[in-house]
Symmetry: C2
Subunit: 294 residues, 2 copies
DNA sequence: ATTTCAACATAAGCATAGCTTATCAAAACT
DNA sequence: AGTTTTGATAAGCTATGCTTATGTTGAAAT
């Protein structure tokens, strides 16, 4: 019952008015002249009033004059929408939100994001850094599109795409007797003062668990932790990525027994697909990471 | 190249979201379920992104969430426009402008307009009264949609639809010796003081022309003219319709020799069709006038 | 006047868009 | 496990929207 207008015949009308004739309009639109005649006649019948004068060819009726700017308006709105949706679909426009653990945020994201904004300059980016647990929670709650983190716990709602492994090692002062070793076993650390940190959870339920368990020192703040270690007041374990690259006073020695790694990967909602912008970012990250490997 | 959206598939998407399933939406839209599946798949392909999650049935993707309110907006605009155009086309909305000679404006239009606004309460009306020459000019200039007047001059651009004839008669004081006659010949008026008025042009080039030609009195204002005649200061001629109906002091006696009439009709632009509102008004006038006749 | 031309309308035919019914496959209830 | 409910797929029909070819008409040219 409610009249349904198609966009295309409206364009035909505009073209005819613009060109002043059906012939010219047909040429402009790469259509045959009868195609326009028929489409416009159909439109006129739907509306219940002629748009063009039957006698004076190519001339609008008063009703046509009334319709014309309104047709223009609808077409304009249609085209704006179509362009916008297409942009967003292609990931050329939009917003991505992601959360990563601090080490990834500071060591990897700068490069990833630089590559990303080079390719998709009109996408807004929103980066949070939080610990692994919070990253997962933010993804699960839909607060961010993506997370990059180690898996905190099995969660039905989340999907995990592996990116790389990050070796866990001992961080100690460069003057420490064990500082020049190629690798260390946990037993060698039993007598050291162990300072736990946010990443120490990774030792839980491993052979090295007792390092953390029987321990009273815990410093969550990375700056404080580093300062403590630089002062030679103890040792800790960190994933390699979390170890500050150009630190002159500290050494990173991988643990060989047990060999520990944290799995870093992309966390997404399992039952939800990504927004086009988020897809674009994920793609860039994956491409970038495999490029570095090879 | 520029993506062309059709309105209907967008409605399908809205319905699926609203109903929460393709089946429910299909029922609501009186379509089969595959019709929706296919239409929406096609739309997704055009956009380049899925709108619904493939796993979780009837659930929007983030891209779908982005699109949904925009689809709603376009559909709303489409529907508003369609309804508006249809209203205007049916003459249920709009504006008519018309110009008539004063006698028609005061004696006939009140009834016509009452009938018109009863049938089309939402159309705006704009009524000018002007002399016949001006009425024609206003129509010719497109200042009004319609005119009701006697034809002023042959004009290529104007079309004339005859409505009725208006007899011309002599207007004189009720106490005048000729006042009780059934009709008069112009020769009987030769000795009278003739006061010309705006309608005296109608005598030009008729047998009675000399009444006007050899005459120094001319009063264009109807009120003044009537007052002059009521004072017994002369006589004039008027079309019957221009003679004030319930005047107690004056008489109207038709001219029989020559028998003179003015032709009253509808004046339109010849090469332009009427707006739907104007069509509606013309129709009401014609119907009303033939109804009165029969 | 007659011809000619340029415009739109009409007709016939074809490809495809958009629908239907029937059937399948997978997920969600019972 | 069996049943129901969901969306996807297939085959087939019809209407839409286009094409080319041919009328028709009114205005300009001869």
């Amino acid at each position: 019952m409610t009249l349904e207008l198609k966009i295309q015949p409206l364009r035909y009308v505009l073209a005819v008015v613009e060109e002043g004739s059906f012939h010219g309009a047909a040429k402009q639109l790469h259509r045959s002249q009868p195609a326009l005649s028929m489409a416009i006649r159909d439109l006129e019948e739907r509306l219940g009033q002629p748009l063009f004068e039957k006698s004076q060819k190519g001339q609008l009726t008063p009703y046509g004059e009334y319709c014309l700017p309104r047709f223009r308006e609808l077409i304009k709105q249609h085209d704006r929408l179509a362009a916008d949706l297409q942009h967003v679909a292609l990931g050329q426009q939009g917003r991505v939100t992601l959360a990563t653990v601090p080490s990834v945020a500071s060591r990897l994201m700068p490069e990833f994001l630089a590559a990303f904004i080079a390719e998709y300059p009109h996408i807004n980016i929103n980066l949070h850094d939080e610990n692994a647990k919070f990253v997962c929670r933010m993804v699960a709650n839909g607060e961010v599109d993506l997370g990059i983190s180690s898996v905190w716990a099995q969660d039905e709602r989340l999907s995990y795409t592996h990116l790389f492994e990050d070796n866990i090692g001992v961080v100690l002062h460069r003057d420490h007797p064990l500082a020049n070793r190629k690798s260390l076993q946990w037993q060698e650390l039993k007598e050291e003062r162990f300072i736990a940190n946010g990443t120490s959870r990774l030792l839980e339920k491993t052979a090295a668990a007792s390092l953390v368990d029987n321990n009273d020192f815990y410093i969550s703040n990375m700056i404080s932790l580093i300062a403590m270690l630089e002062a030679g007041s103890g040792i800790t374990t960190l994933p390699r990525l979390a170890f500050p690259v150009d630190n002159r006073k500290l050494c990173f020695v991988p643990l060989s027994e047990p060999k520990l790694v944290r799995q870093i990967g992309i966390i997404k909602l399992a039952n939800r697909s990504l927004s086009p912008s988020a897809q674009a970012l994920e793609e860039v990250i994956l491409k970038r990471l495999t490029a570095v490997r090879s």
